[in-house]
Symmetry: C3
Subunit: 137 residues, 3 copies
């Protein structure tokens, strides 16, 4: 068995202040382009006001997800934050949801469940976001 290693950056352009963006297609396209067959794919988001996770995706779910975040940590930042209030809720949510995620790869594709997608959660956009993709077979 010949081990394959890969470290690549991909750039994702978000369009709104808050947005749940499905980036599964971009990751799978990179794996296919690099012939990354079977192994483990790690995704790292090098930002503090966005996060990365897996979630069930369908038309209305992104709205409900952003609504739930808003209930948990109100974006108005009224809880008496001493840091720059406009960014604080994004920092808190990002640190809870996370910046690091690994997913097995089988046949040049992420081995996700049926409705499971990799999403970038934008909390302070629109911006260009960088995802560092590491693959090891």
């Amino acid at each position: 068995m010949h081990a394959k290693k890969l470290m690549e950056k991909i750039t994702i352009k978000t369009n709104k202040t808050r947005e749940v963006m499905d980036i599964t297609k971009e990751i799978n396209a990179l794996l296919e382009r690099k012939s990354a067959k079977d192994g483990l794919c790690h995704l790292f988001l090098s930002h503090t006001t966005a996060a990365i996770t897996t979630v069930h995706m369908d038309p209305a779910l992104d709205v409900d997800l952003l609504g739930a975040y808003e209930v948990m940590i109100p974006s108005r930042g009224e809880a008496g934050h001493t840091h720059h209030a406009a960014h604080m809720p994004a920092h808190i949510l990002a640190s809870m949801i996370g910046s690091s995620l690994a997913i097995p790869v089988q046949g040049e594709k992420l081995a996700l469940g049926d409705f499971q997608r990799v999403v970038l959660v934008e909390l302070n956009g629109p911006r260009e976001r960088t995802v560092i993709v590491t693959f090891n077979s």
Copy 2:
């Protein structure tokens, strides 16, 4: 040093709608069966209404943990979700708790803390859940 690689699926049968299930024994049994000595073990849950994490386990803790989730994201889905209300709270919690987890392995065992256990958090059971276990030495 001879590198060892492993990718295996294990199936976990949950018993209730919501449940915190300790799966440490199942993972350690696999590592031992495959002589996976020292390295990193990655666990991926390919589902959107369940999650995987580490937590202190003792008799009453699962009840308290599920109670805390209920307070954070009520399972009745009354917050005006536009998606299928019955599943939405499970999707939100699963995306917060996470589907991906890696743990160092020492001597064919997960190098967990004293009371630290790997748990599958079932949020929409009972079901059969698949965990993809990847090991690299």
Copy 3:
């Protein structure tokens, strides 16, 4: 390419009951000392009342972050926890924030964003905490 592997424990001494401690310098010092150039660095916290994540760090942010945790899961444990009430909120928060985190390494340094730092979130200190650092190139 010659693959480099590393598994080391580092000990972090926390100073308060709750505290957000930047441990980026300690991780980078280890990577440099071991000449761990390019690859993936995994951090595992083998404890159940502390967590590890990435977050924007500046003087006031730790206070706001701990304040947000307190709002989400009150540390007084008044929600009728049946487990030892004093520890329960720490266990819940730790299982949500997480114990496992991987970050790409470039040039013997964690490839973090501009203000992004690796933090140990102490929820039941002061204590000595162990982080298991695994590196694979």
